[in-house]
Symmetry: C2
């Protein structure tokens, strides 16, 4: 069975038809379907990985980890669905003495938005593709999903979609709850279709921005959650350079992993001007050549690398390599260059994301210059990182920088590296533009919130209330109750909390 | 003291300068400032209401209620700030056995977005204006606020802003945390300014849509929360018409209140074709003439009313009146017309919001036609309402319609009327476009979420963690912890919930 479909109208109509029956399922039924899908993916992992290796050039170990992440992500969302806190159920008891005027019985719960269109990424053929995080979050929310396949792994996309459709069907999910489409034209036409209620995207700033504007200016605008560009600056203090002999090798491993084709690759490492980093290649041992994802990405990386190497004030720390092989495929080893803060501040080209195994060491002299420099150069990132000793952190010397890191990034790491994003309830993978088009996360359980909308029921008889809002709480989910009478105490702030 | 300011750059710079010190305040300090402001507004209520009556034509009792709502809304948000659940603090313990791969310590909390620009409404000179819901929610979130005054009540806006600035200053809030500006040009220039991080708006679909597109297409797009148009359809069953002798008078009171100039005015009431409603004017007694908010709204209402009365298939149920008085002011009494479902379905003009005291009775024959008709005619509303008996609801005959009401509105009411929105933790005042530009609520405590963004801290030493994420929980707020080891049980769904 393939799940290739034909016209915008067919696809949108099938998704719309699936929306109500899918939304109406008991949470445990929907959760079981997610678990079944996780099992199906794991059962086919070996053959999926063979296709993925061939189509993407990514290594087997990395892809095995990615499949494990993808299937367990589905299981994690199944837990979220059954536990039910994500519904944010709120119950206000009727209150004739309410200080704003008599309060009716009001109950509010989050409900699925409707069909979601997900533009898959090229660099995570599992975790950000057909059955990846956006699909898992939308299905968990109770929304039908249409995935626009990445052109980077078309066979794997179909192979995965067949597993998804087969598994969801076997689990009794409604027809049309998942569909795969391909082609930019079909994708943008669907984005304009009134039956699509939200979209997600992982890819370039240019394409993401274009799609975001389509979503915002259609007759009925819809939420668009785009993950675009991020350069993930990292900073190392004097103390960290001294304390961590593995600092630079950890950095290089993070830059080199998956040939640097990760949205969280550290694009910059700020180190003290006088730090002795030694011979990087000698320390690390040069990693083997890694194929780049596709000819477009390979060619763009080669151009960009040449441009960086040619720029005034840039010195080479680890030259690395990039070359074009057969059938337009590109192969690379990591390149690390070095600049001063002055060169960086005056060379705008260096600030753009470089997708591939290249990173920039930045030599700084004065700790105090870093916070304002960061604020100016790095307004929006998925992550930022600080390596520092506890004594340095306690000194307060780094407080201003940490404040800026939190103001400009979705995730702030201490003495680690940003690649290898964990999928957890507290993960935030989204930050100020251009990291994402909104600050919403596309990784972790909070990602489900993107595909929900609130509905309040006022004075509804129990028989018509949705299950999460009933007093007998048949799904046994967390409910926040506001009892009558509390408003009499408002404004006293007298230690009741 | 007036708070009129001069240039886009001045205003944005002051707001930006206030952002960090304001965000850094202890919650109790910020909450106390909100309570102090509530007290200051209550203390000046009498003189504020005199100005409001003169500038808006709204009645004293209505405005007294609105001031009570406005000040208590500030007190409610103070409670929210101190209680701290709105921060959604999540703590994932480090977990070496995590099934996705070793998990670091990850902690996530919501933080203020930064300066918020709030376009005030004309029809609620207190509750949706200078010190209204958007201002309260943004200040509670820890964001500096710039209000673009409504041209409908300029003196009241300045008078209120003076109270706000004076009170916040006396409470020790940072300079620039609140500013008032006026003029459409200055408002849109600020909306384009990079230092403004979010905007809210209550007003017409035309203006709201234009502003939303500016927000979405600026160099760095920002979230825009617009409350635009809503016609709030209501339905009455045969049983409800029989049971509730006060059904029609309740409807007319809701239509007539504040001269129908409310975003939740019921614009349609569907009644059975054969229902005997009698002489509305005789039953209710015609209300006194009510001044309309301003000459523009008055003139537009008169035009629209004439257009409706002239439309083919429209019969007059209660003629009402509208006339132009001195100084361009308009005065009206309620008009109620009647159509069949067939006329309504073929007369698009009738579907647009009519801002003022006019509503449309729609005669239906077949209960089963209502759900598909609603879906087609009313895709996005703040509210929808059903009056039915419990026996009718139990019969299942109304289930399809209720499903559509929930799918197309933010709030579904049973046997009530949508005007008089309560400010509570479960309130939802926002719905599918054009009710709002996103589904976010602008009323109730959930409104604070519009002005927050998530930041995760990975492996952060306790000394640099924000207070809400510390293990010793100095603010005593709710924290959701994910213990290590739980992932071993994922996917079993075995009654652990």
């Amino acid at each position: 069975m393939t799940n290739q479909v034909h016209s915008v109208d067919d696809v949108a109509a099938r998704a719309e038809a699936a929306a109500r029956p899918f939304a109406d399922l008991e949470p445990r039924t929907r959760a079981q379907a997610l678990v079944d899908l996780a099992d199906a993916i794991d059962a086919s992992a070996a053959e999926l990985i063979v296709t993925a290796m061939r189509e993407t050039g990514l290594g087997e170990a990395r892809l095995q980890g990615e499949v494990r992440r993808t299937s367990n992500q589905l299981r994690l969302f199944a837990e979220v669905v059954v536990e039910g806190a994500y519904l944010d159920a709120r119950i206000d008891e009727a209150d004739p003495q309410y200080v704003i005027g008599p309060r009716p019985d009001v109950r509010r719960v989050l409900q699925p938005l409707g069909p979601v269109l997900n533009f898959a990424a090229s660099n995570f053929p599992f975790a950000f593709s057909v059955a990846g995080g956006d699909t898992a979050a939308a299905l968990a929310a109770g929304c039908p999903v249409i995935v626009k396949a990445s052109p980077g792994h078309p066979e794997l996309s179909v192979q995965t979609a067949d597993i998804v459709v087969g598994s969801l069907t076997a689990s009794g999910m409604p027809d049309g709850v998942f569909q795969l489409v391909s082609g930019q034209e079909l994708g943008t036409a669907l984005l304009r279709d009134a039956r699509i209620r939200a979209a997600s995207f992982t890819g370039s700033t240019r394409v993401g921005r274009m799609l975001a504007e389509i979503a915002a200016t259609r007759d009925i605008p819809i939420p668009f959650f785009g993950e675009l560009g991020s350069v993930n600056p990292a900073y190392a203090t004097r103390g960290a350079v001294e304390r961590e002999p593995q600092l630079i090798s950890g950095f290089l491993t993070s830059v080199a992993g998956s040939a640097g084709q990760l949205c969280t690759k550290p694009g910059f490492l700020f180190v003290p001007a006088e730090a002795e980093l030694g011979d990087l290649a000698g320390r690390l041992g040069l990693p083997d050549e890694h194929r780049l994802l596709n000819p477009v990405i390979g060619g763009a990386f080669a151009d960009r690398r040449a441009q960086v190497l040619d720029a005034s004030g840039v010195t080479v720390h680890l030259e690395g390599s990039v070359r074009e092989g057969e059938r337009g495929q590109w192969f690379a080893t990591p390149t690390v260059v070095e600049v001063t803060t002055e060169v960086l501040a005056r060379t705008e080209m260096l600030l753009d994301e470089c997708f591939g195994p290249l990173s920039i060491l930045v030599r700084y002299r004065d700790t105090a210059e870093l916070a304002p420099l960061h604020r100016r150069l790095f307004p929006g990132n998925l992550t930022s990182t600080l390596h520092a000793t506890d004594a340095e952190l306690d000194s307060g010397e780094w407080t201003a920088l940490i404040t800026e890191l939190a103001a400009t990034s979705g995730r702030v790491l201490f003495s680690g590296w940003p690649t290898g994003v964990s999928v957890t309830s507290a993960m935030q993978h989204g930050g100020p533009f251009p990291a994402t088009t909104t600050d919403a996360t596309s990784v972790g359980t909070a990602a489900i919130g993107r595909f929900l909308r609130a509905v309040a029921y006022q004075d509804a008889p129990a028989a018509v209330l949705p299950m999460p809002l009933r007093d007998d709480n048949p799904w046994n989910i967390p409910q926040r109750r506001s009892a009558a009478g509390l408003s009499q105490d408002w404004g006293r702030l007298d230690g009741r909390y």
